[in-house]
Symmetry: C2
Subunit: 196 residues, 2 copies
């Protein structure tokens, strides 16, 4: 029972790594097991189905996202500082070494947005929570007087997420070194407009 949990974690770690490059469907039990020095059937027994493996890979990724972005941001003061902390951590997250192929949550979203099933349901909920988290942060910034009173906090959240997606695209597809500067400039413009 102890040993099993350890290997399961080792499997998921490598699975996240592979899935970030090849996609959740491109992730294969055969290659995953050989890379880990396990047998296909031995690895398979931990999950029972590929669907379940994919689901647990997503859950592991969300956990890491919360550890890397959400929790640290929550230890920053409410209002503008927290918003800035989220954004900074978010950019870091996009370059997290545990996902050499870039944010798995974005890749999986594009991959599964048209395939009904538990994977899509889970992803939808996860992305909704990310949206809500930023909106809530903006709401606090309004209450703290950092942002203007009539700010549409959900529009603000959309704008921040769009910047993150734009960064991901420019960084990973176009491989443009200016991606970071572009995302930051867009963010600063957004912040200025939220205050004015």
């Amino acid at each position: 029972m102890r040993k099993g949990a350890e290997t399961r974690e080792r499997i998921l770690d490598q699975a996240v790594r592979l899935a970030s490059r090849d996609g959740l469907e491109g992730l294969t039990i055969g290659t995953l097991s050989t890379e880990l020095g396990l047998s296909k059937s031995g690895l398979f027994a931990h999950f029972g189905s590929k669907d379940e493996l994919q689901l647990q890979v997503l859950q592991a990724t969300v956990e890491r996202f919360e550890e890397t972005v959400i929790h640290p941001a929550l230890s920053a003061p409410r209002g503008e500082p927290r918003i800035r902390a989220v954004f900074e951590r978010w950019l870091d997250w996009e370059n997290n070494p545990s996902m050499p192929g870039g944010c798995l949550l974005i890749a999986a979203a594009v991959e599964f947005d048209d395939r009904p099933g538990p994977q899509r349901d889970y992803l939808q909920e996860a992305h909704r929570r990310r949206f809500e988290f930023i909106a809530k942060g903006a709401r606090m910034a309004v209450e703290a007087g950092h942002f203007r009173q009539d700010l549409d906090v959900e529009q603000f959240s959309f704008d921040v997420l769009a910047i993150a997606l734009g960064y991901h695209h420019m960084h990973r597809m176009l491989r443009d070194p200016k991606a970071d500067a572009r995302a930051r400039a867009a963010f600063e413009r957004l912040m200025a407009e939220a205050k004015a």
Copy 2:
């Protein structure tokens, strides 16, 4: 020679449709051929390899994008009207019925951004051209006096593309009916800021 070109087009049309939902790798010669009432080998002979099929699917998609977005926009007057035309057409494009799974260029970008090869090379170039096209449009708007003189036109292009990606995400993953309004609001804010 005539007949062959016709079927090839029929194949690519359905291939784009399937790939937009299942991805370029999820697109399979077996299912594609059965859906079209062709034999696997007969279909395969048109392309010679799956790589080539994927490449031609991408090329067909880019052609359609240019017909749907680029060319109509070019018939609008330079400056702000053309920028607005691009944006409007772009939103239409994201809902183009020939791609029931959403913009294939976005899906393929996420799928192939870590897989070196001709598909990625082609996608990179295609996305770069889309970026340049908007930047060029913004440059003209500056010259026409519609946008302020010191506008960073490439930053503007990044911002527009980010909105398009945000729309895609909110529309297809979150299935949020407000996606359209959010994208438009973000765009108007961007336009106002480009003029001021």
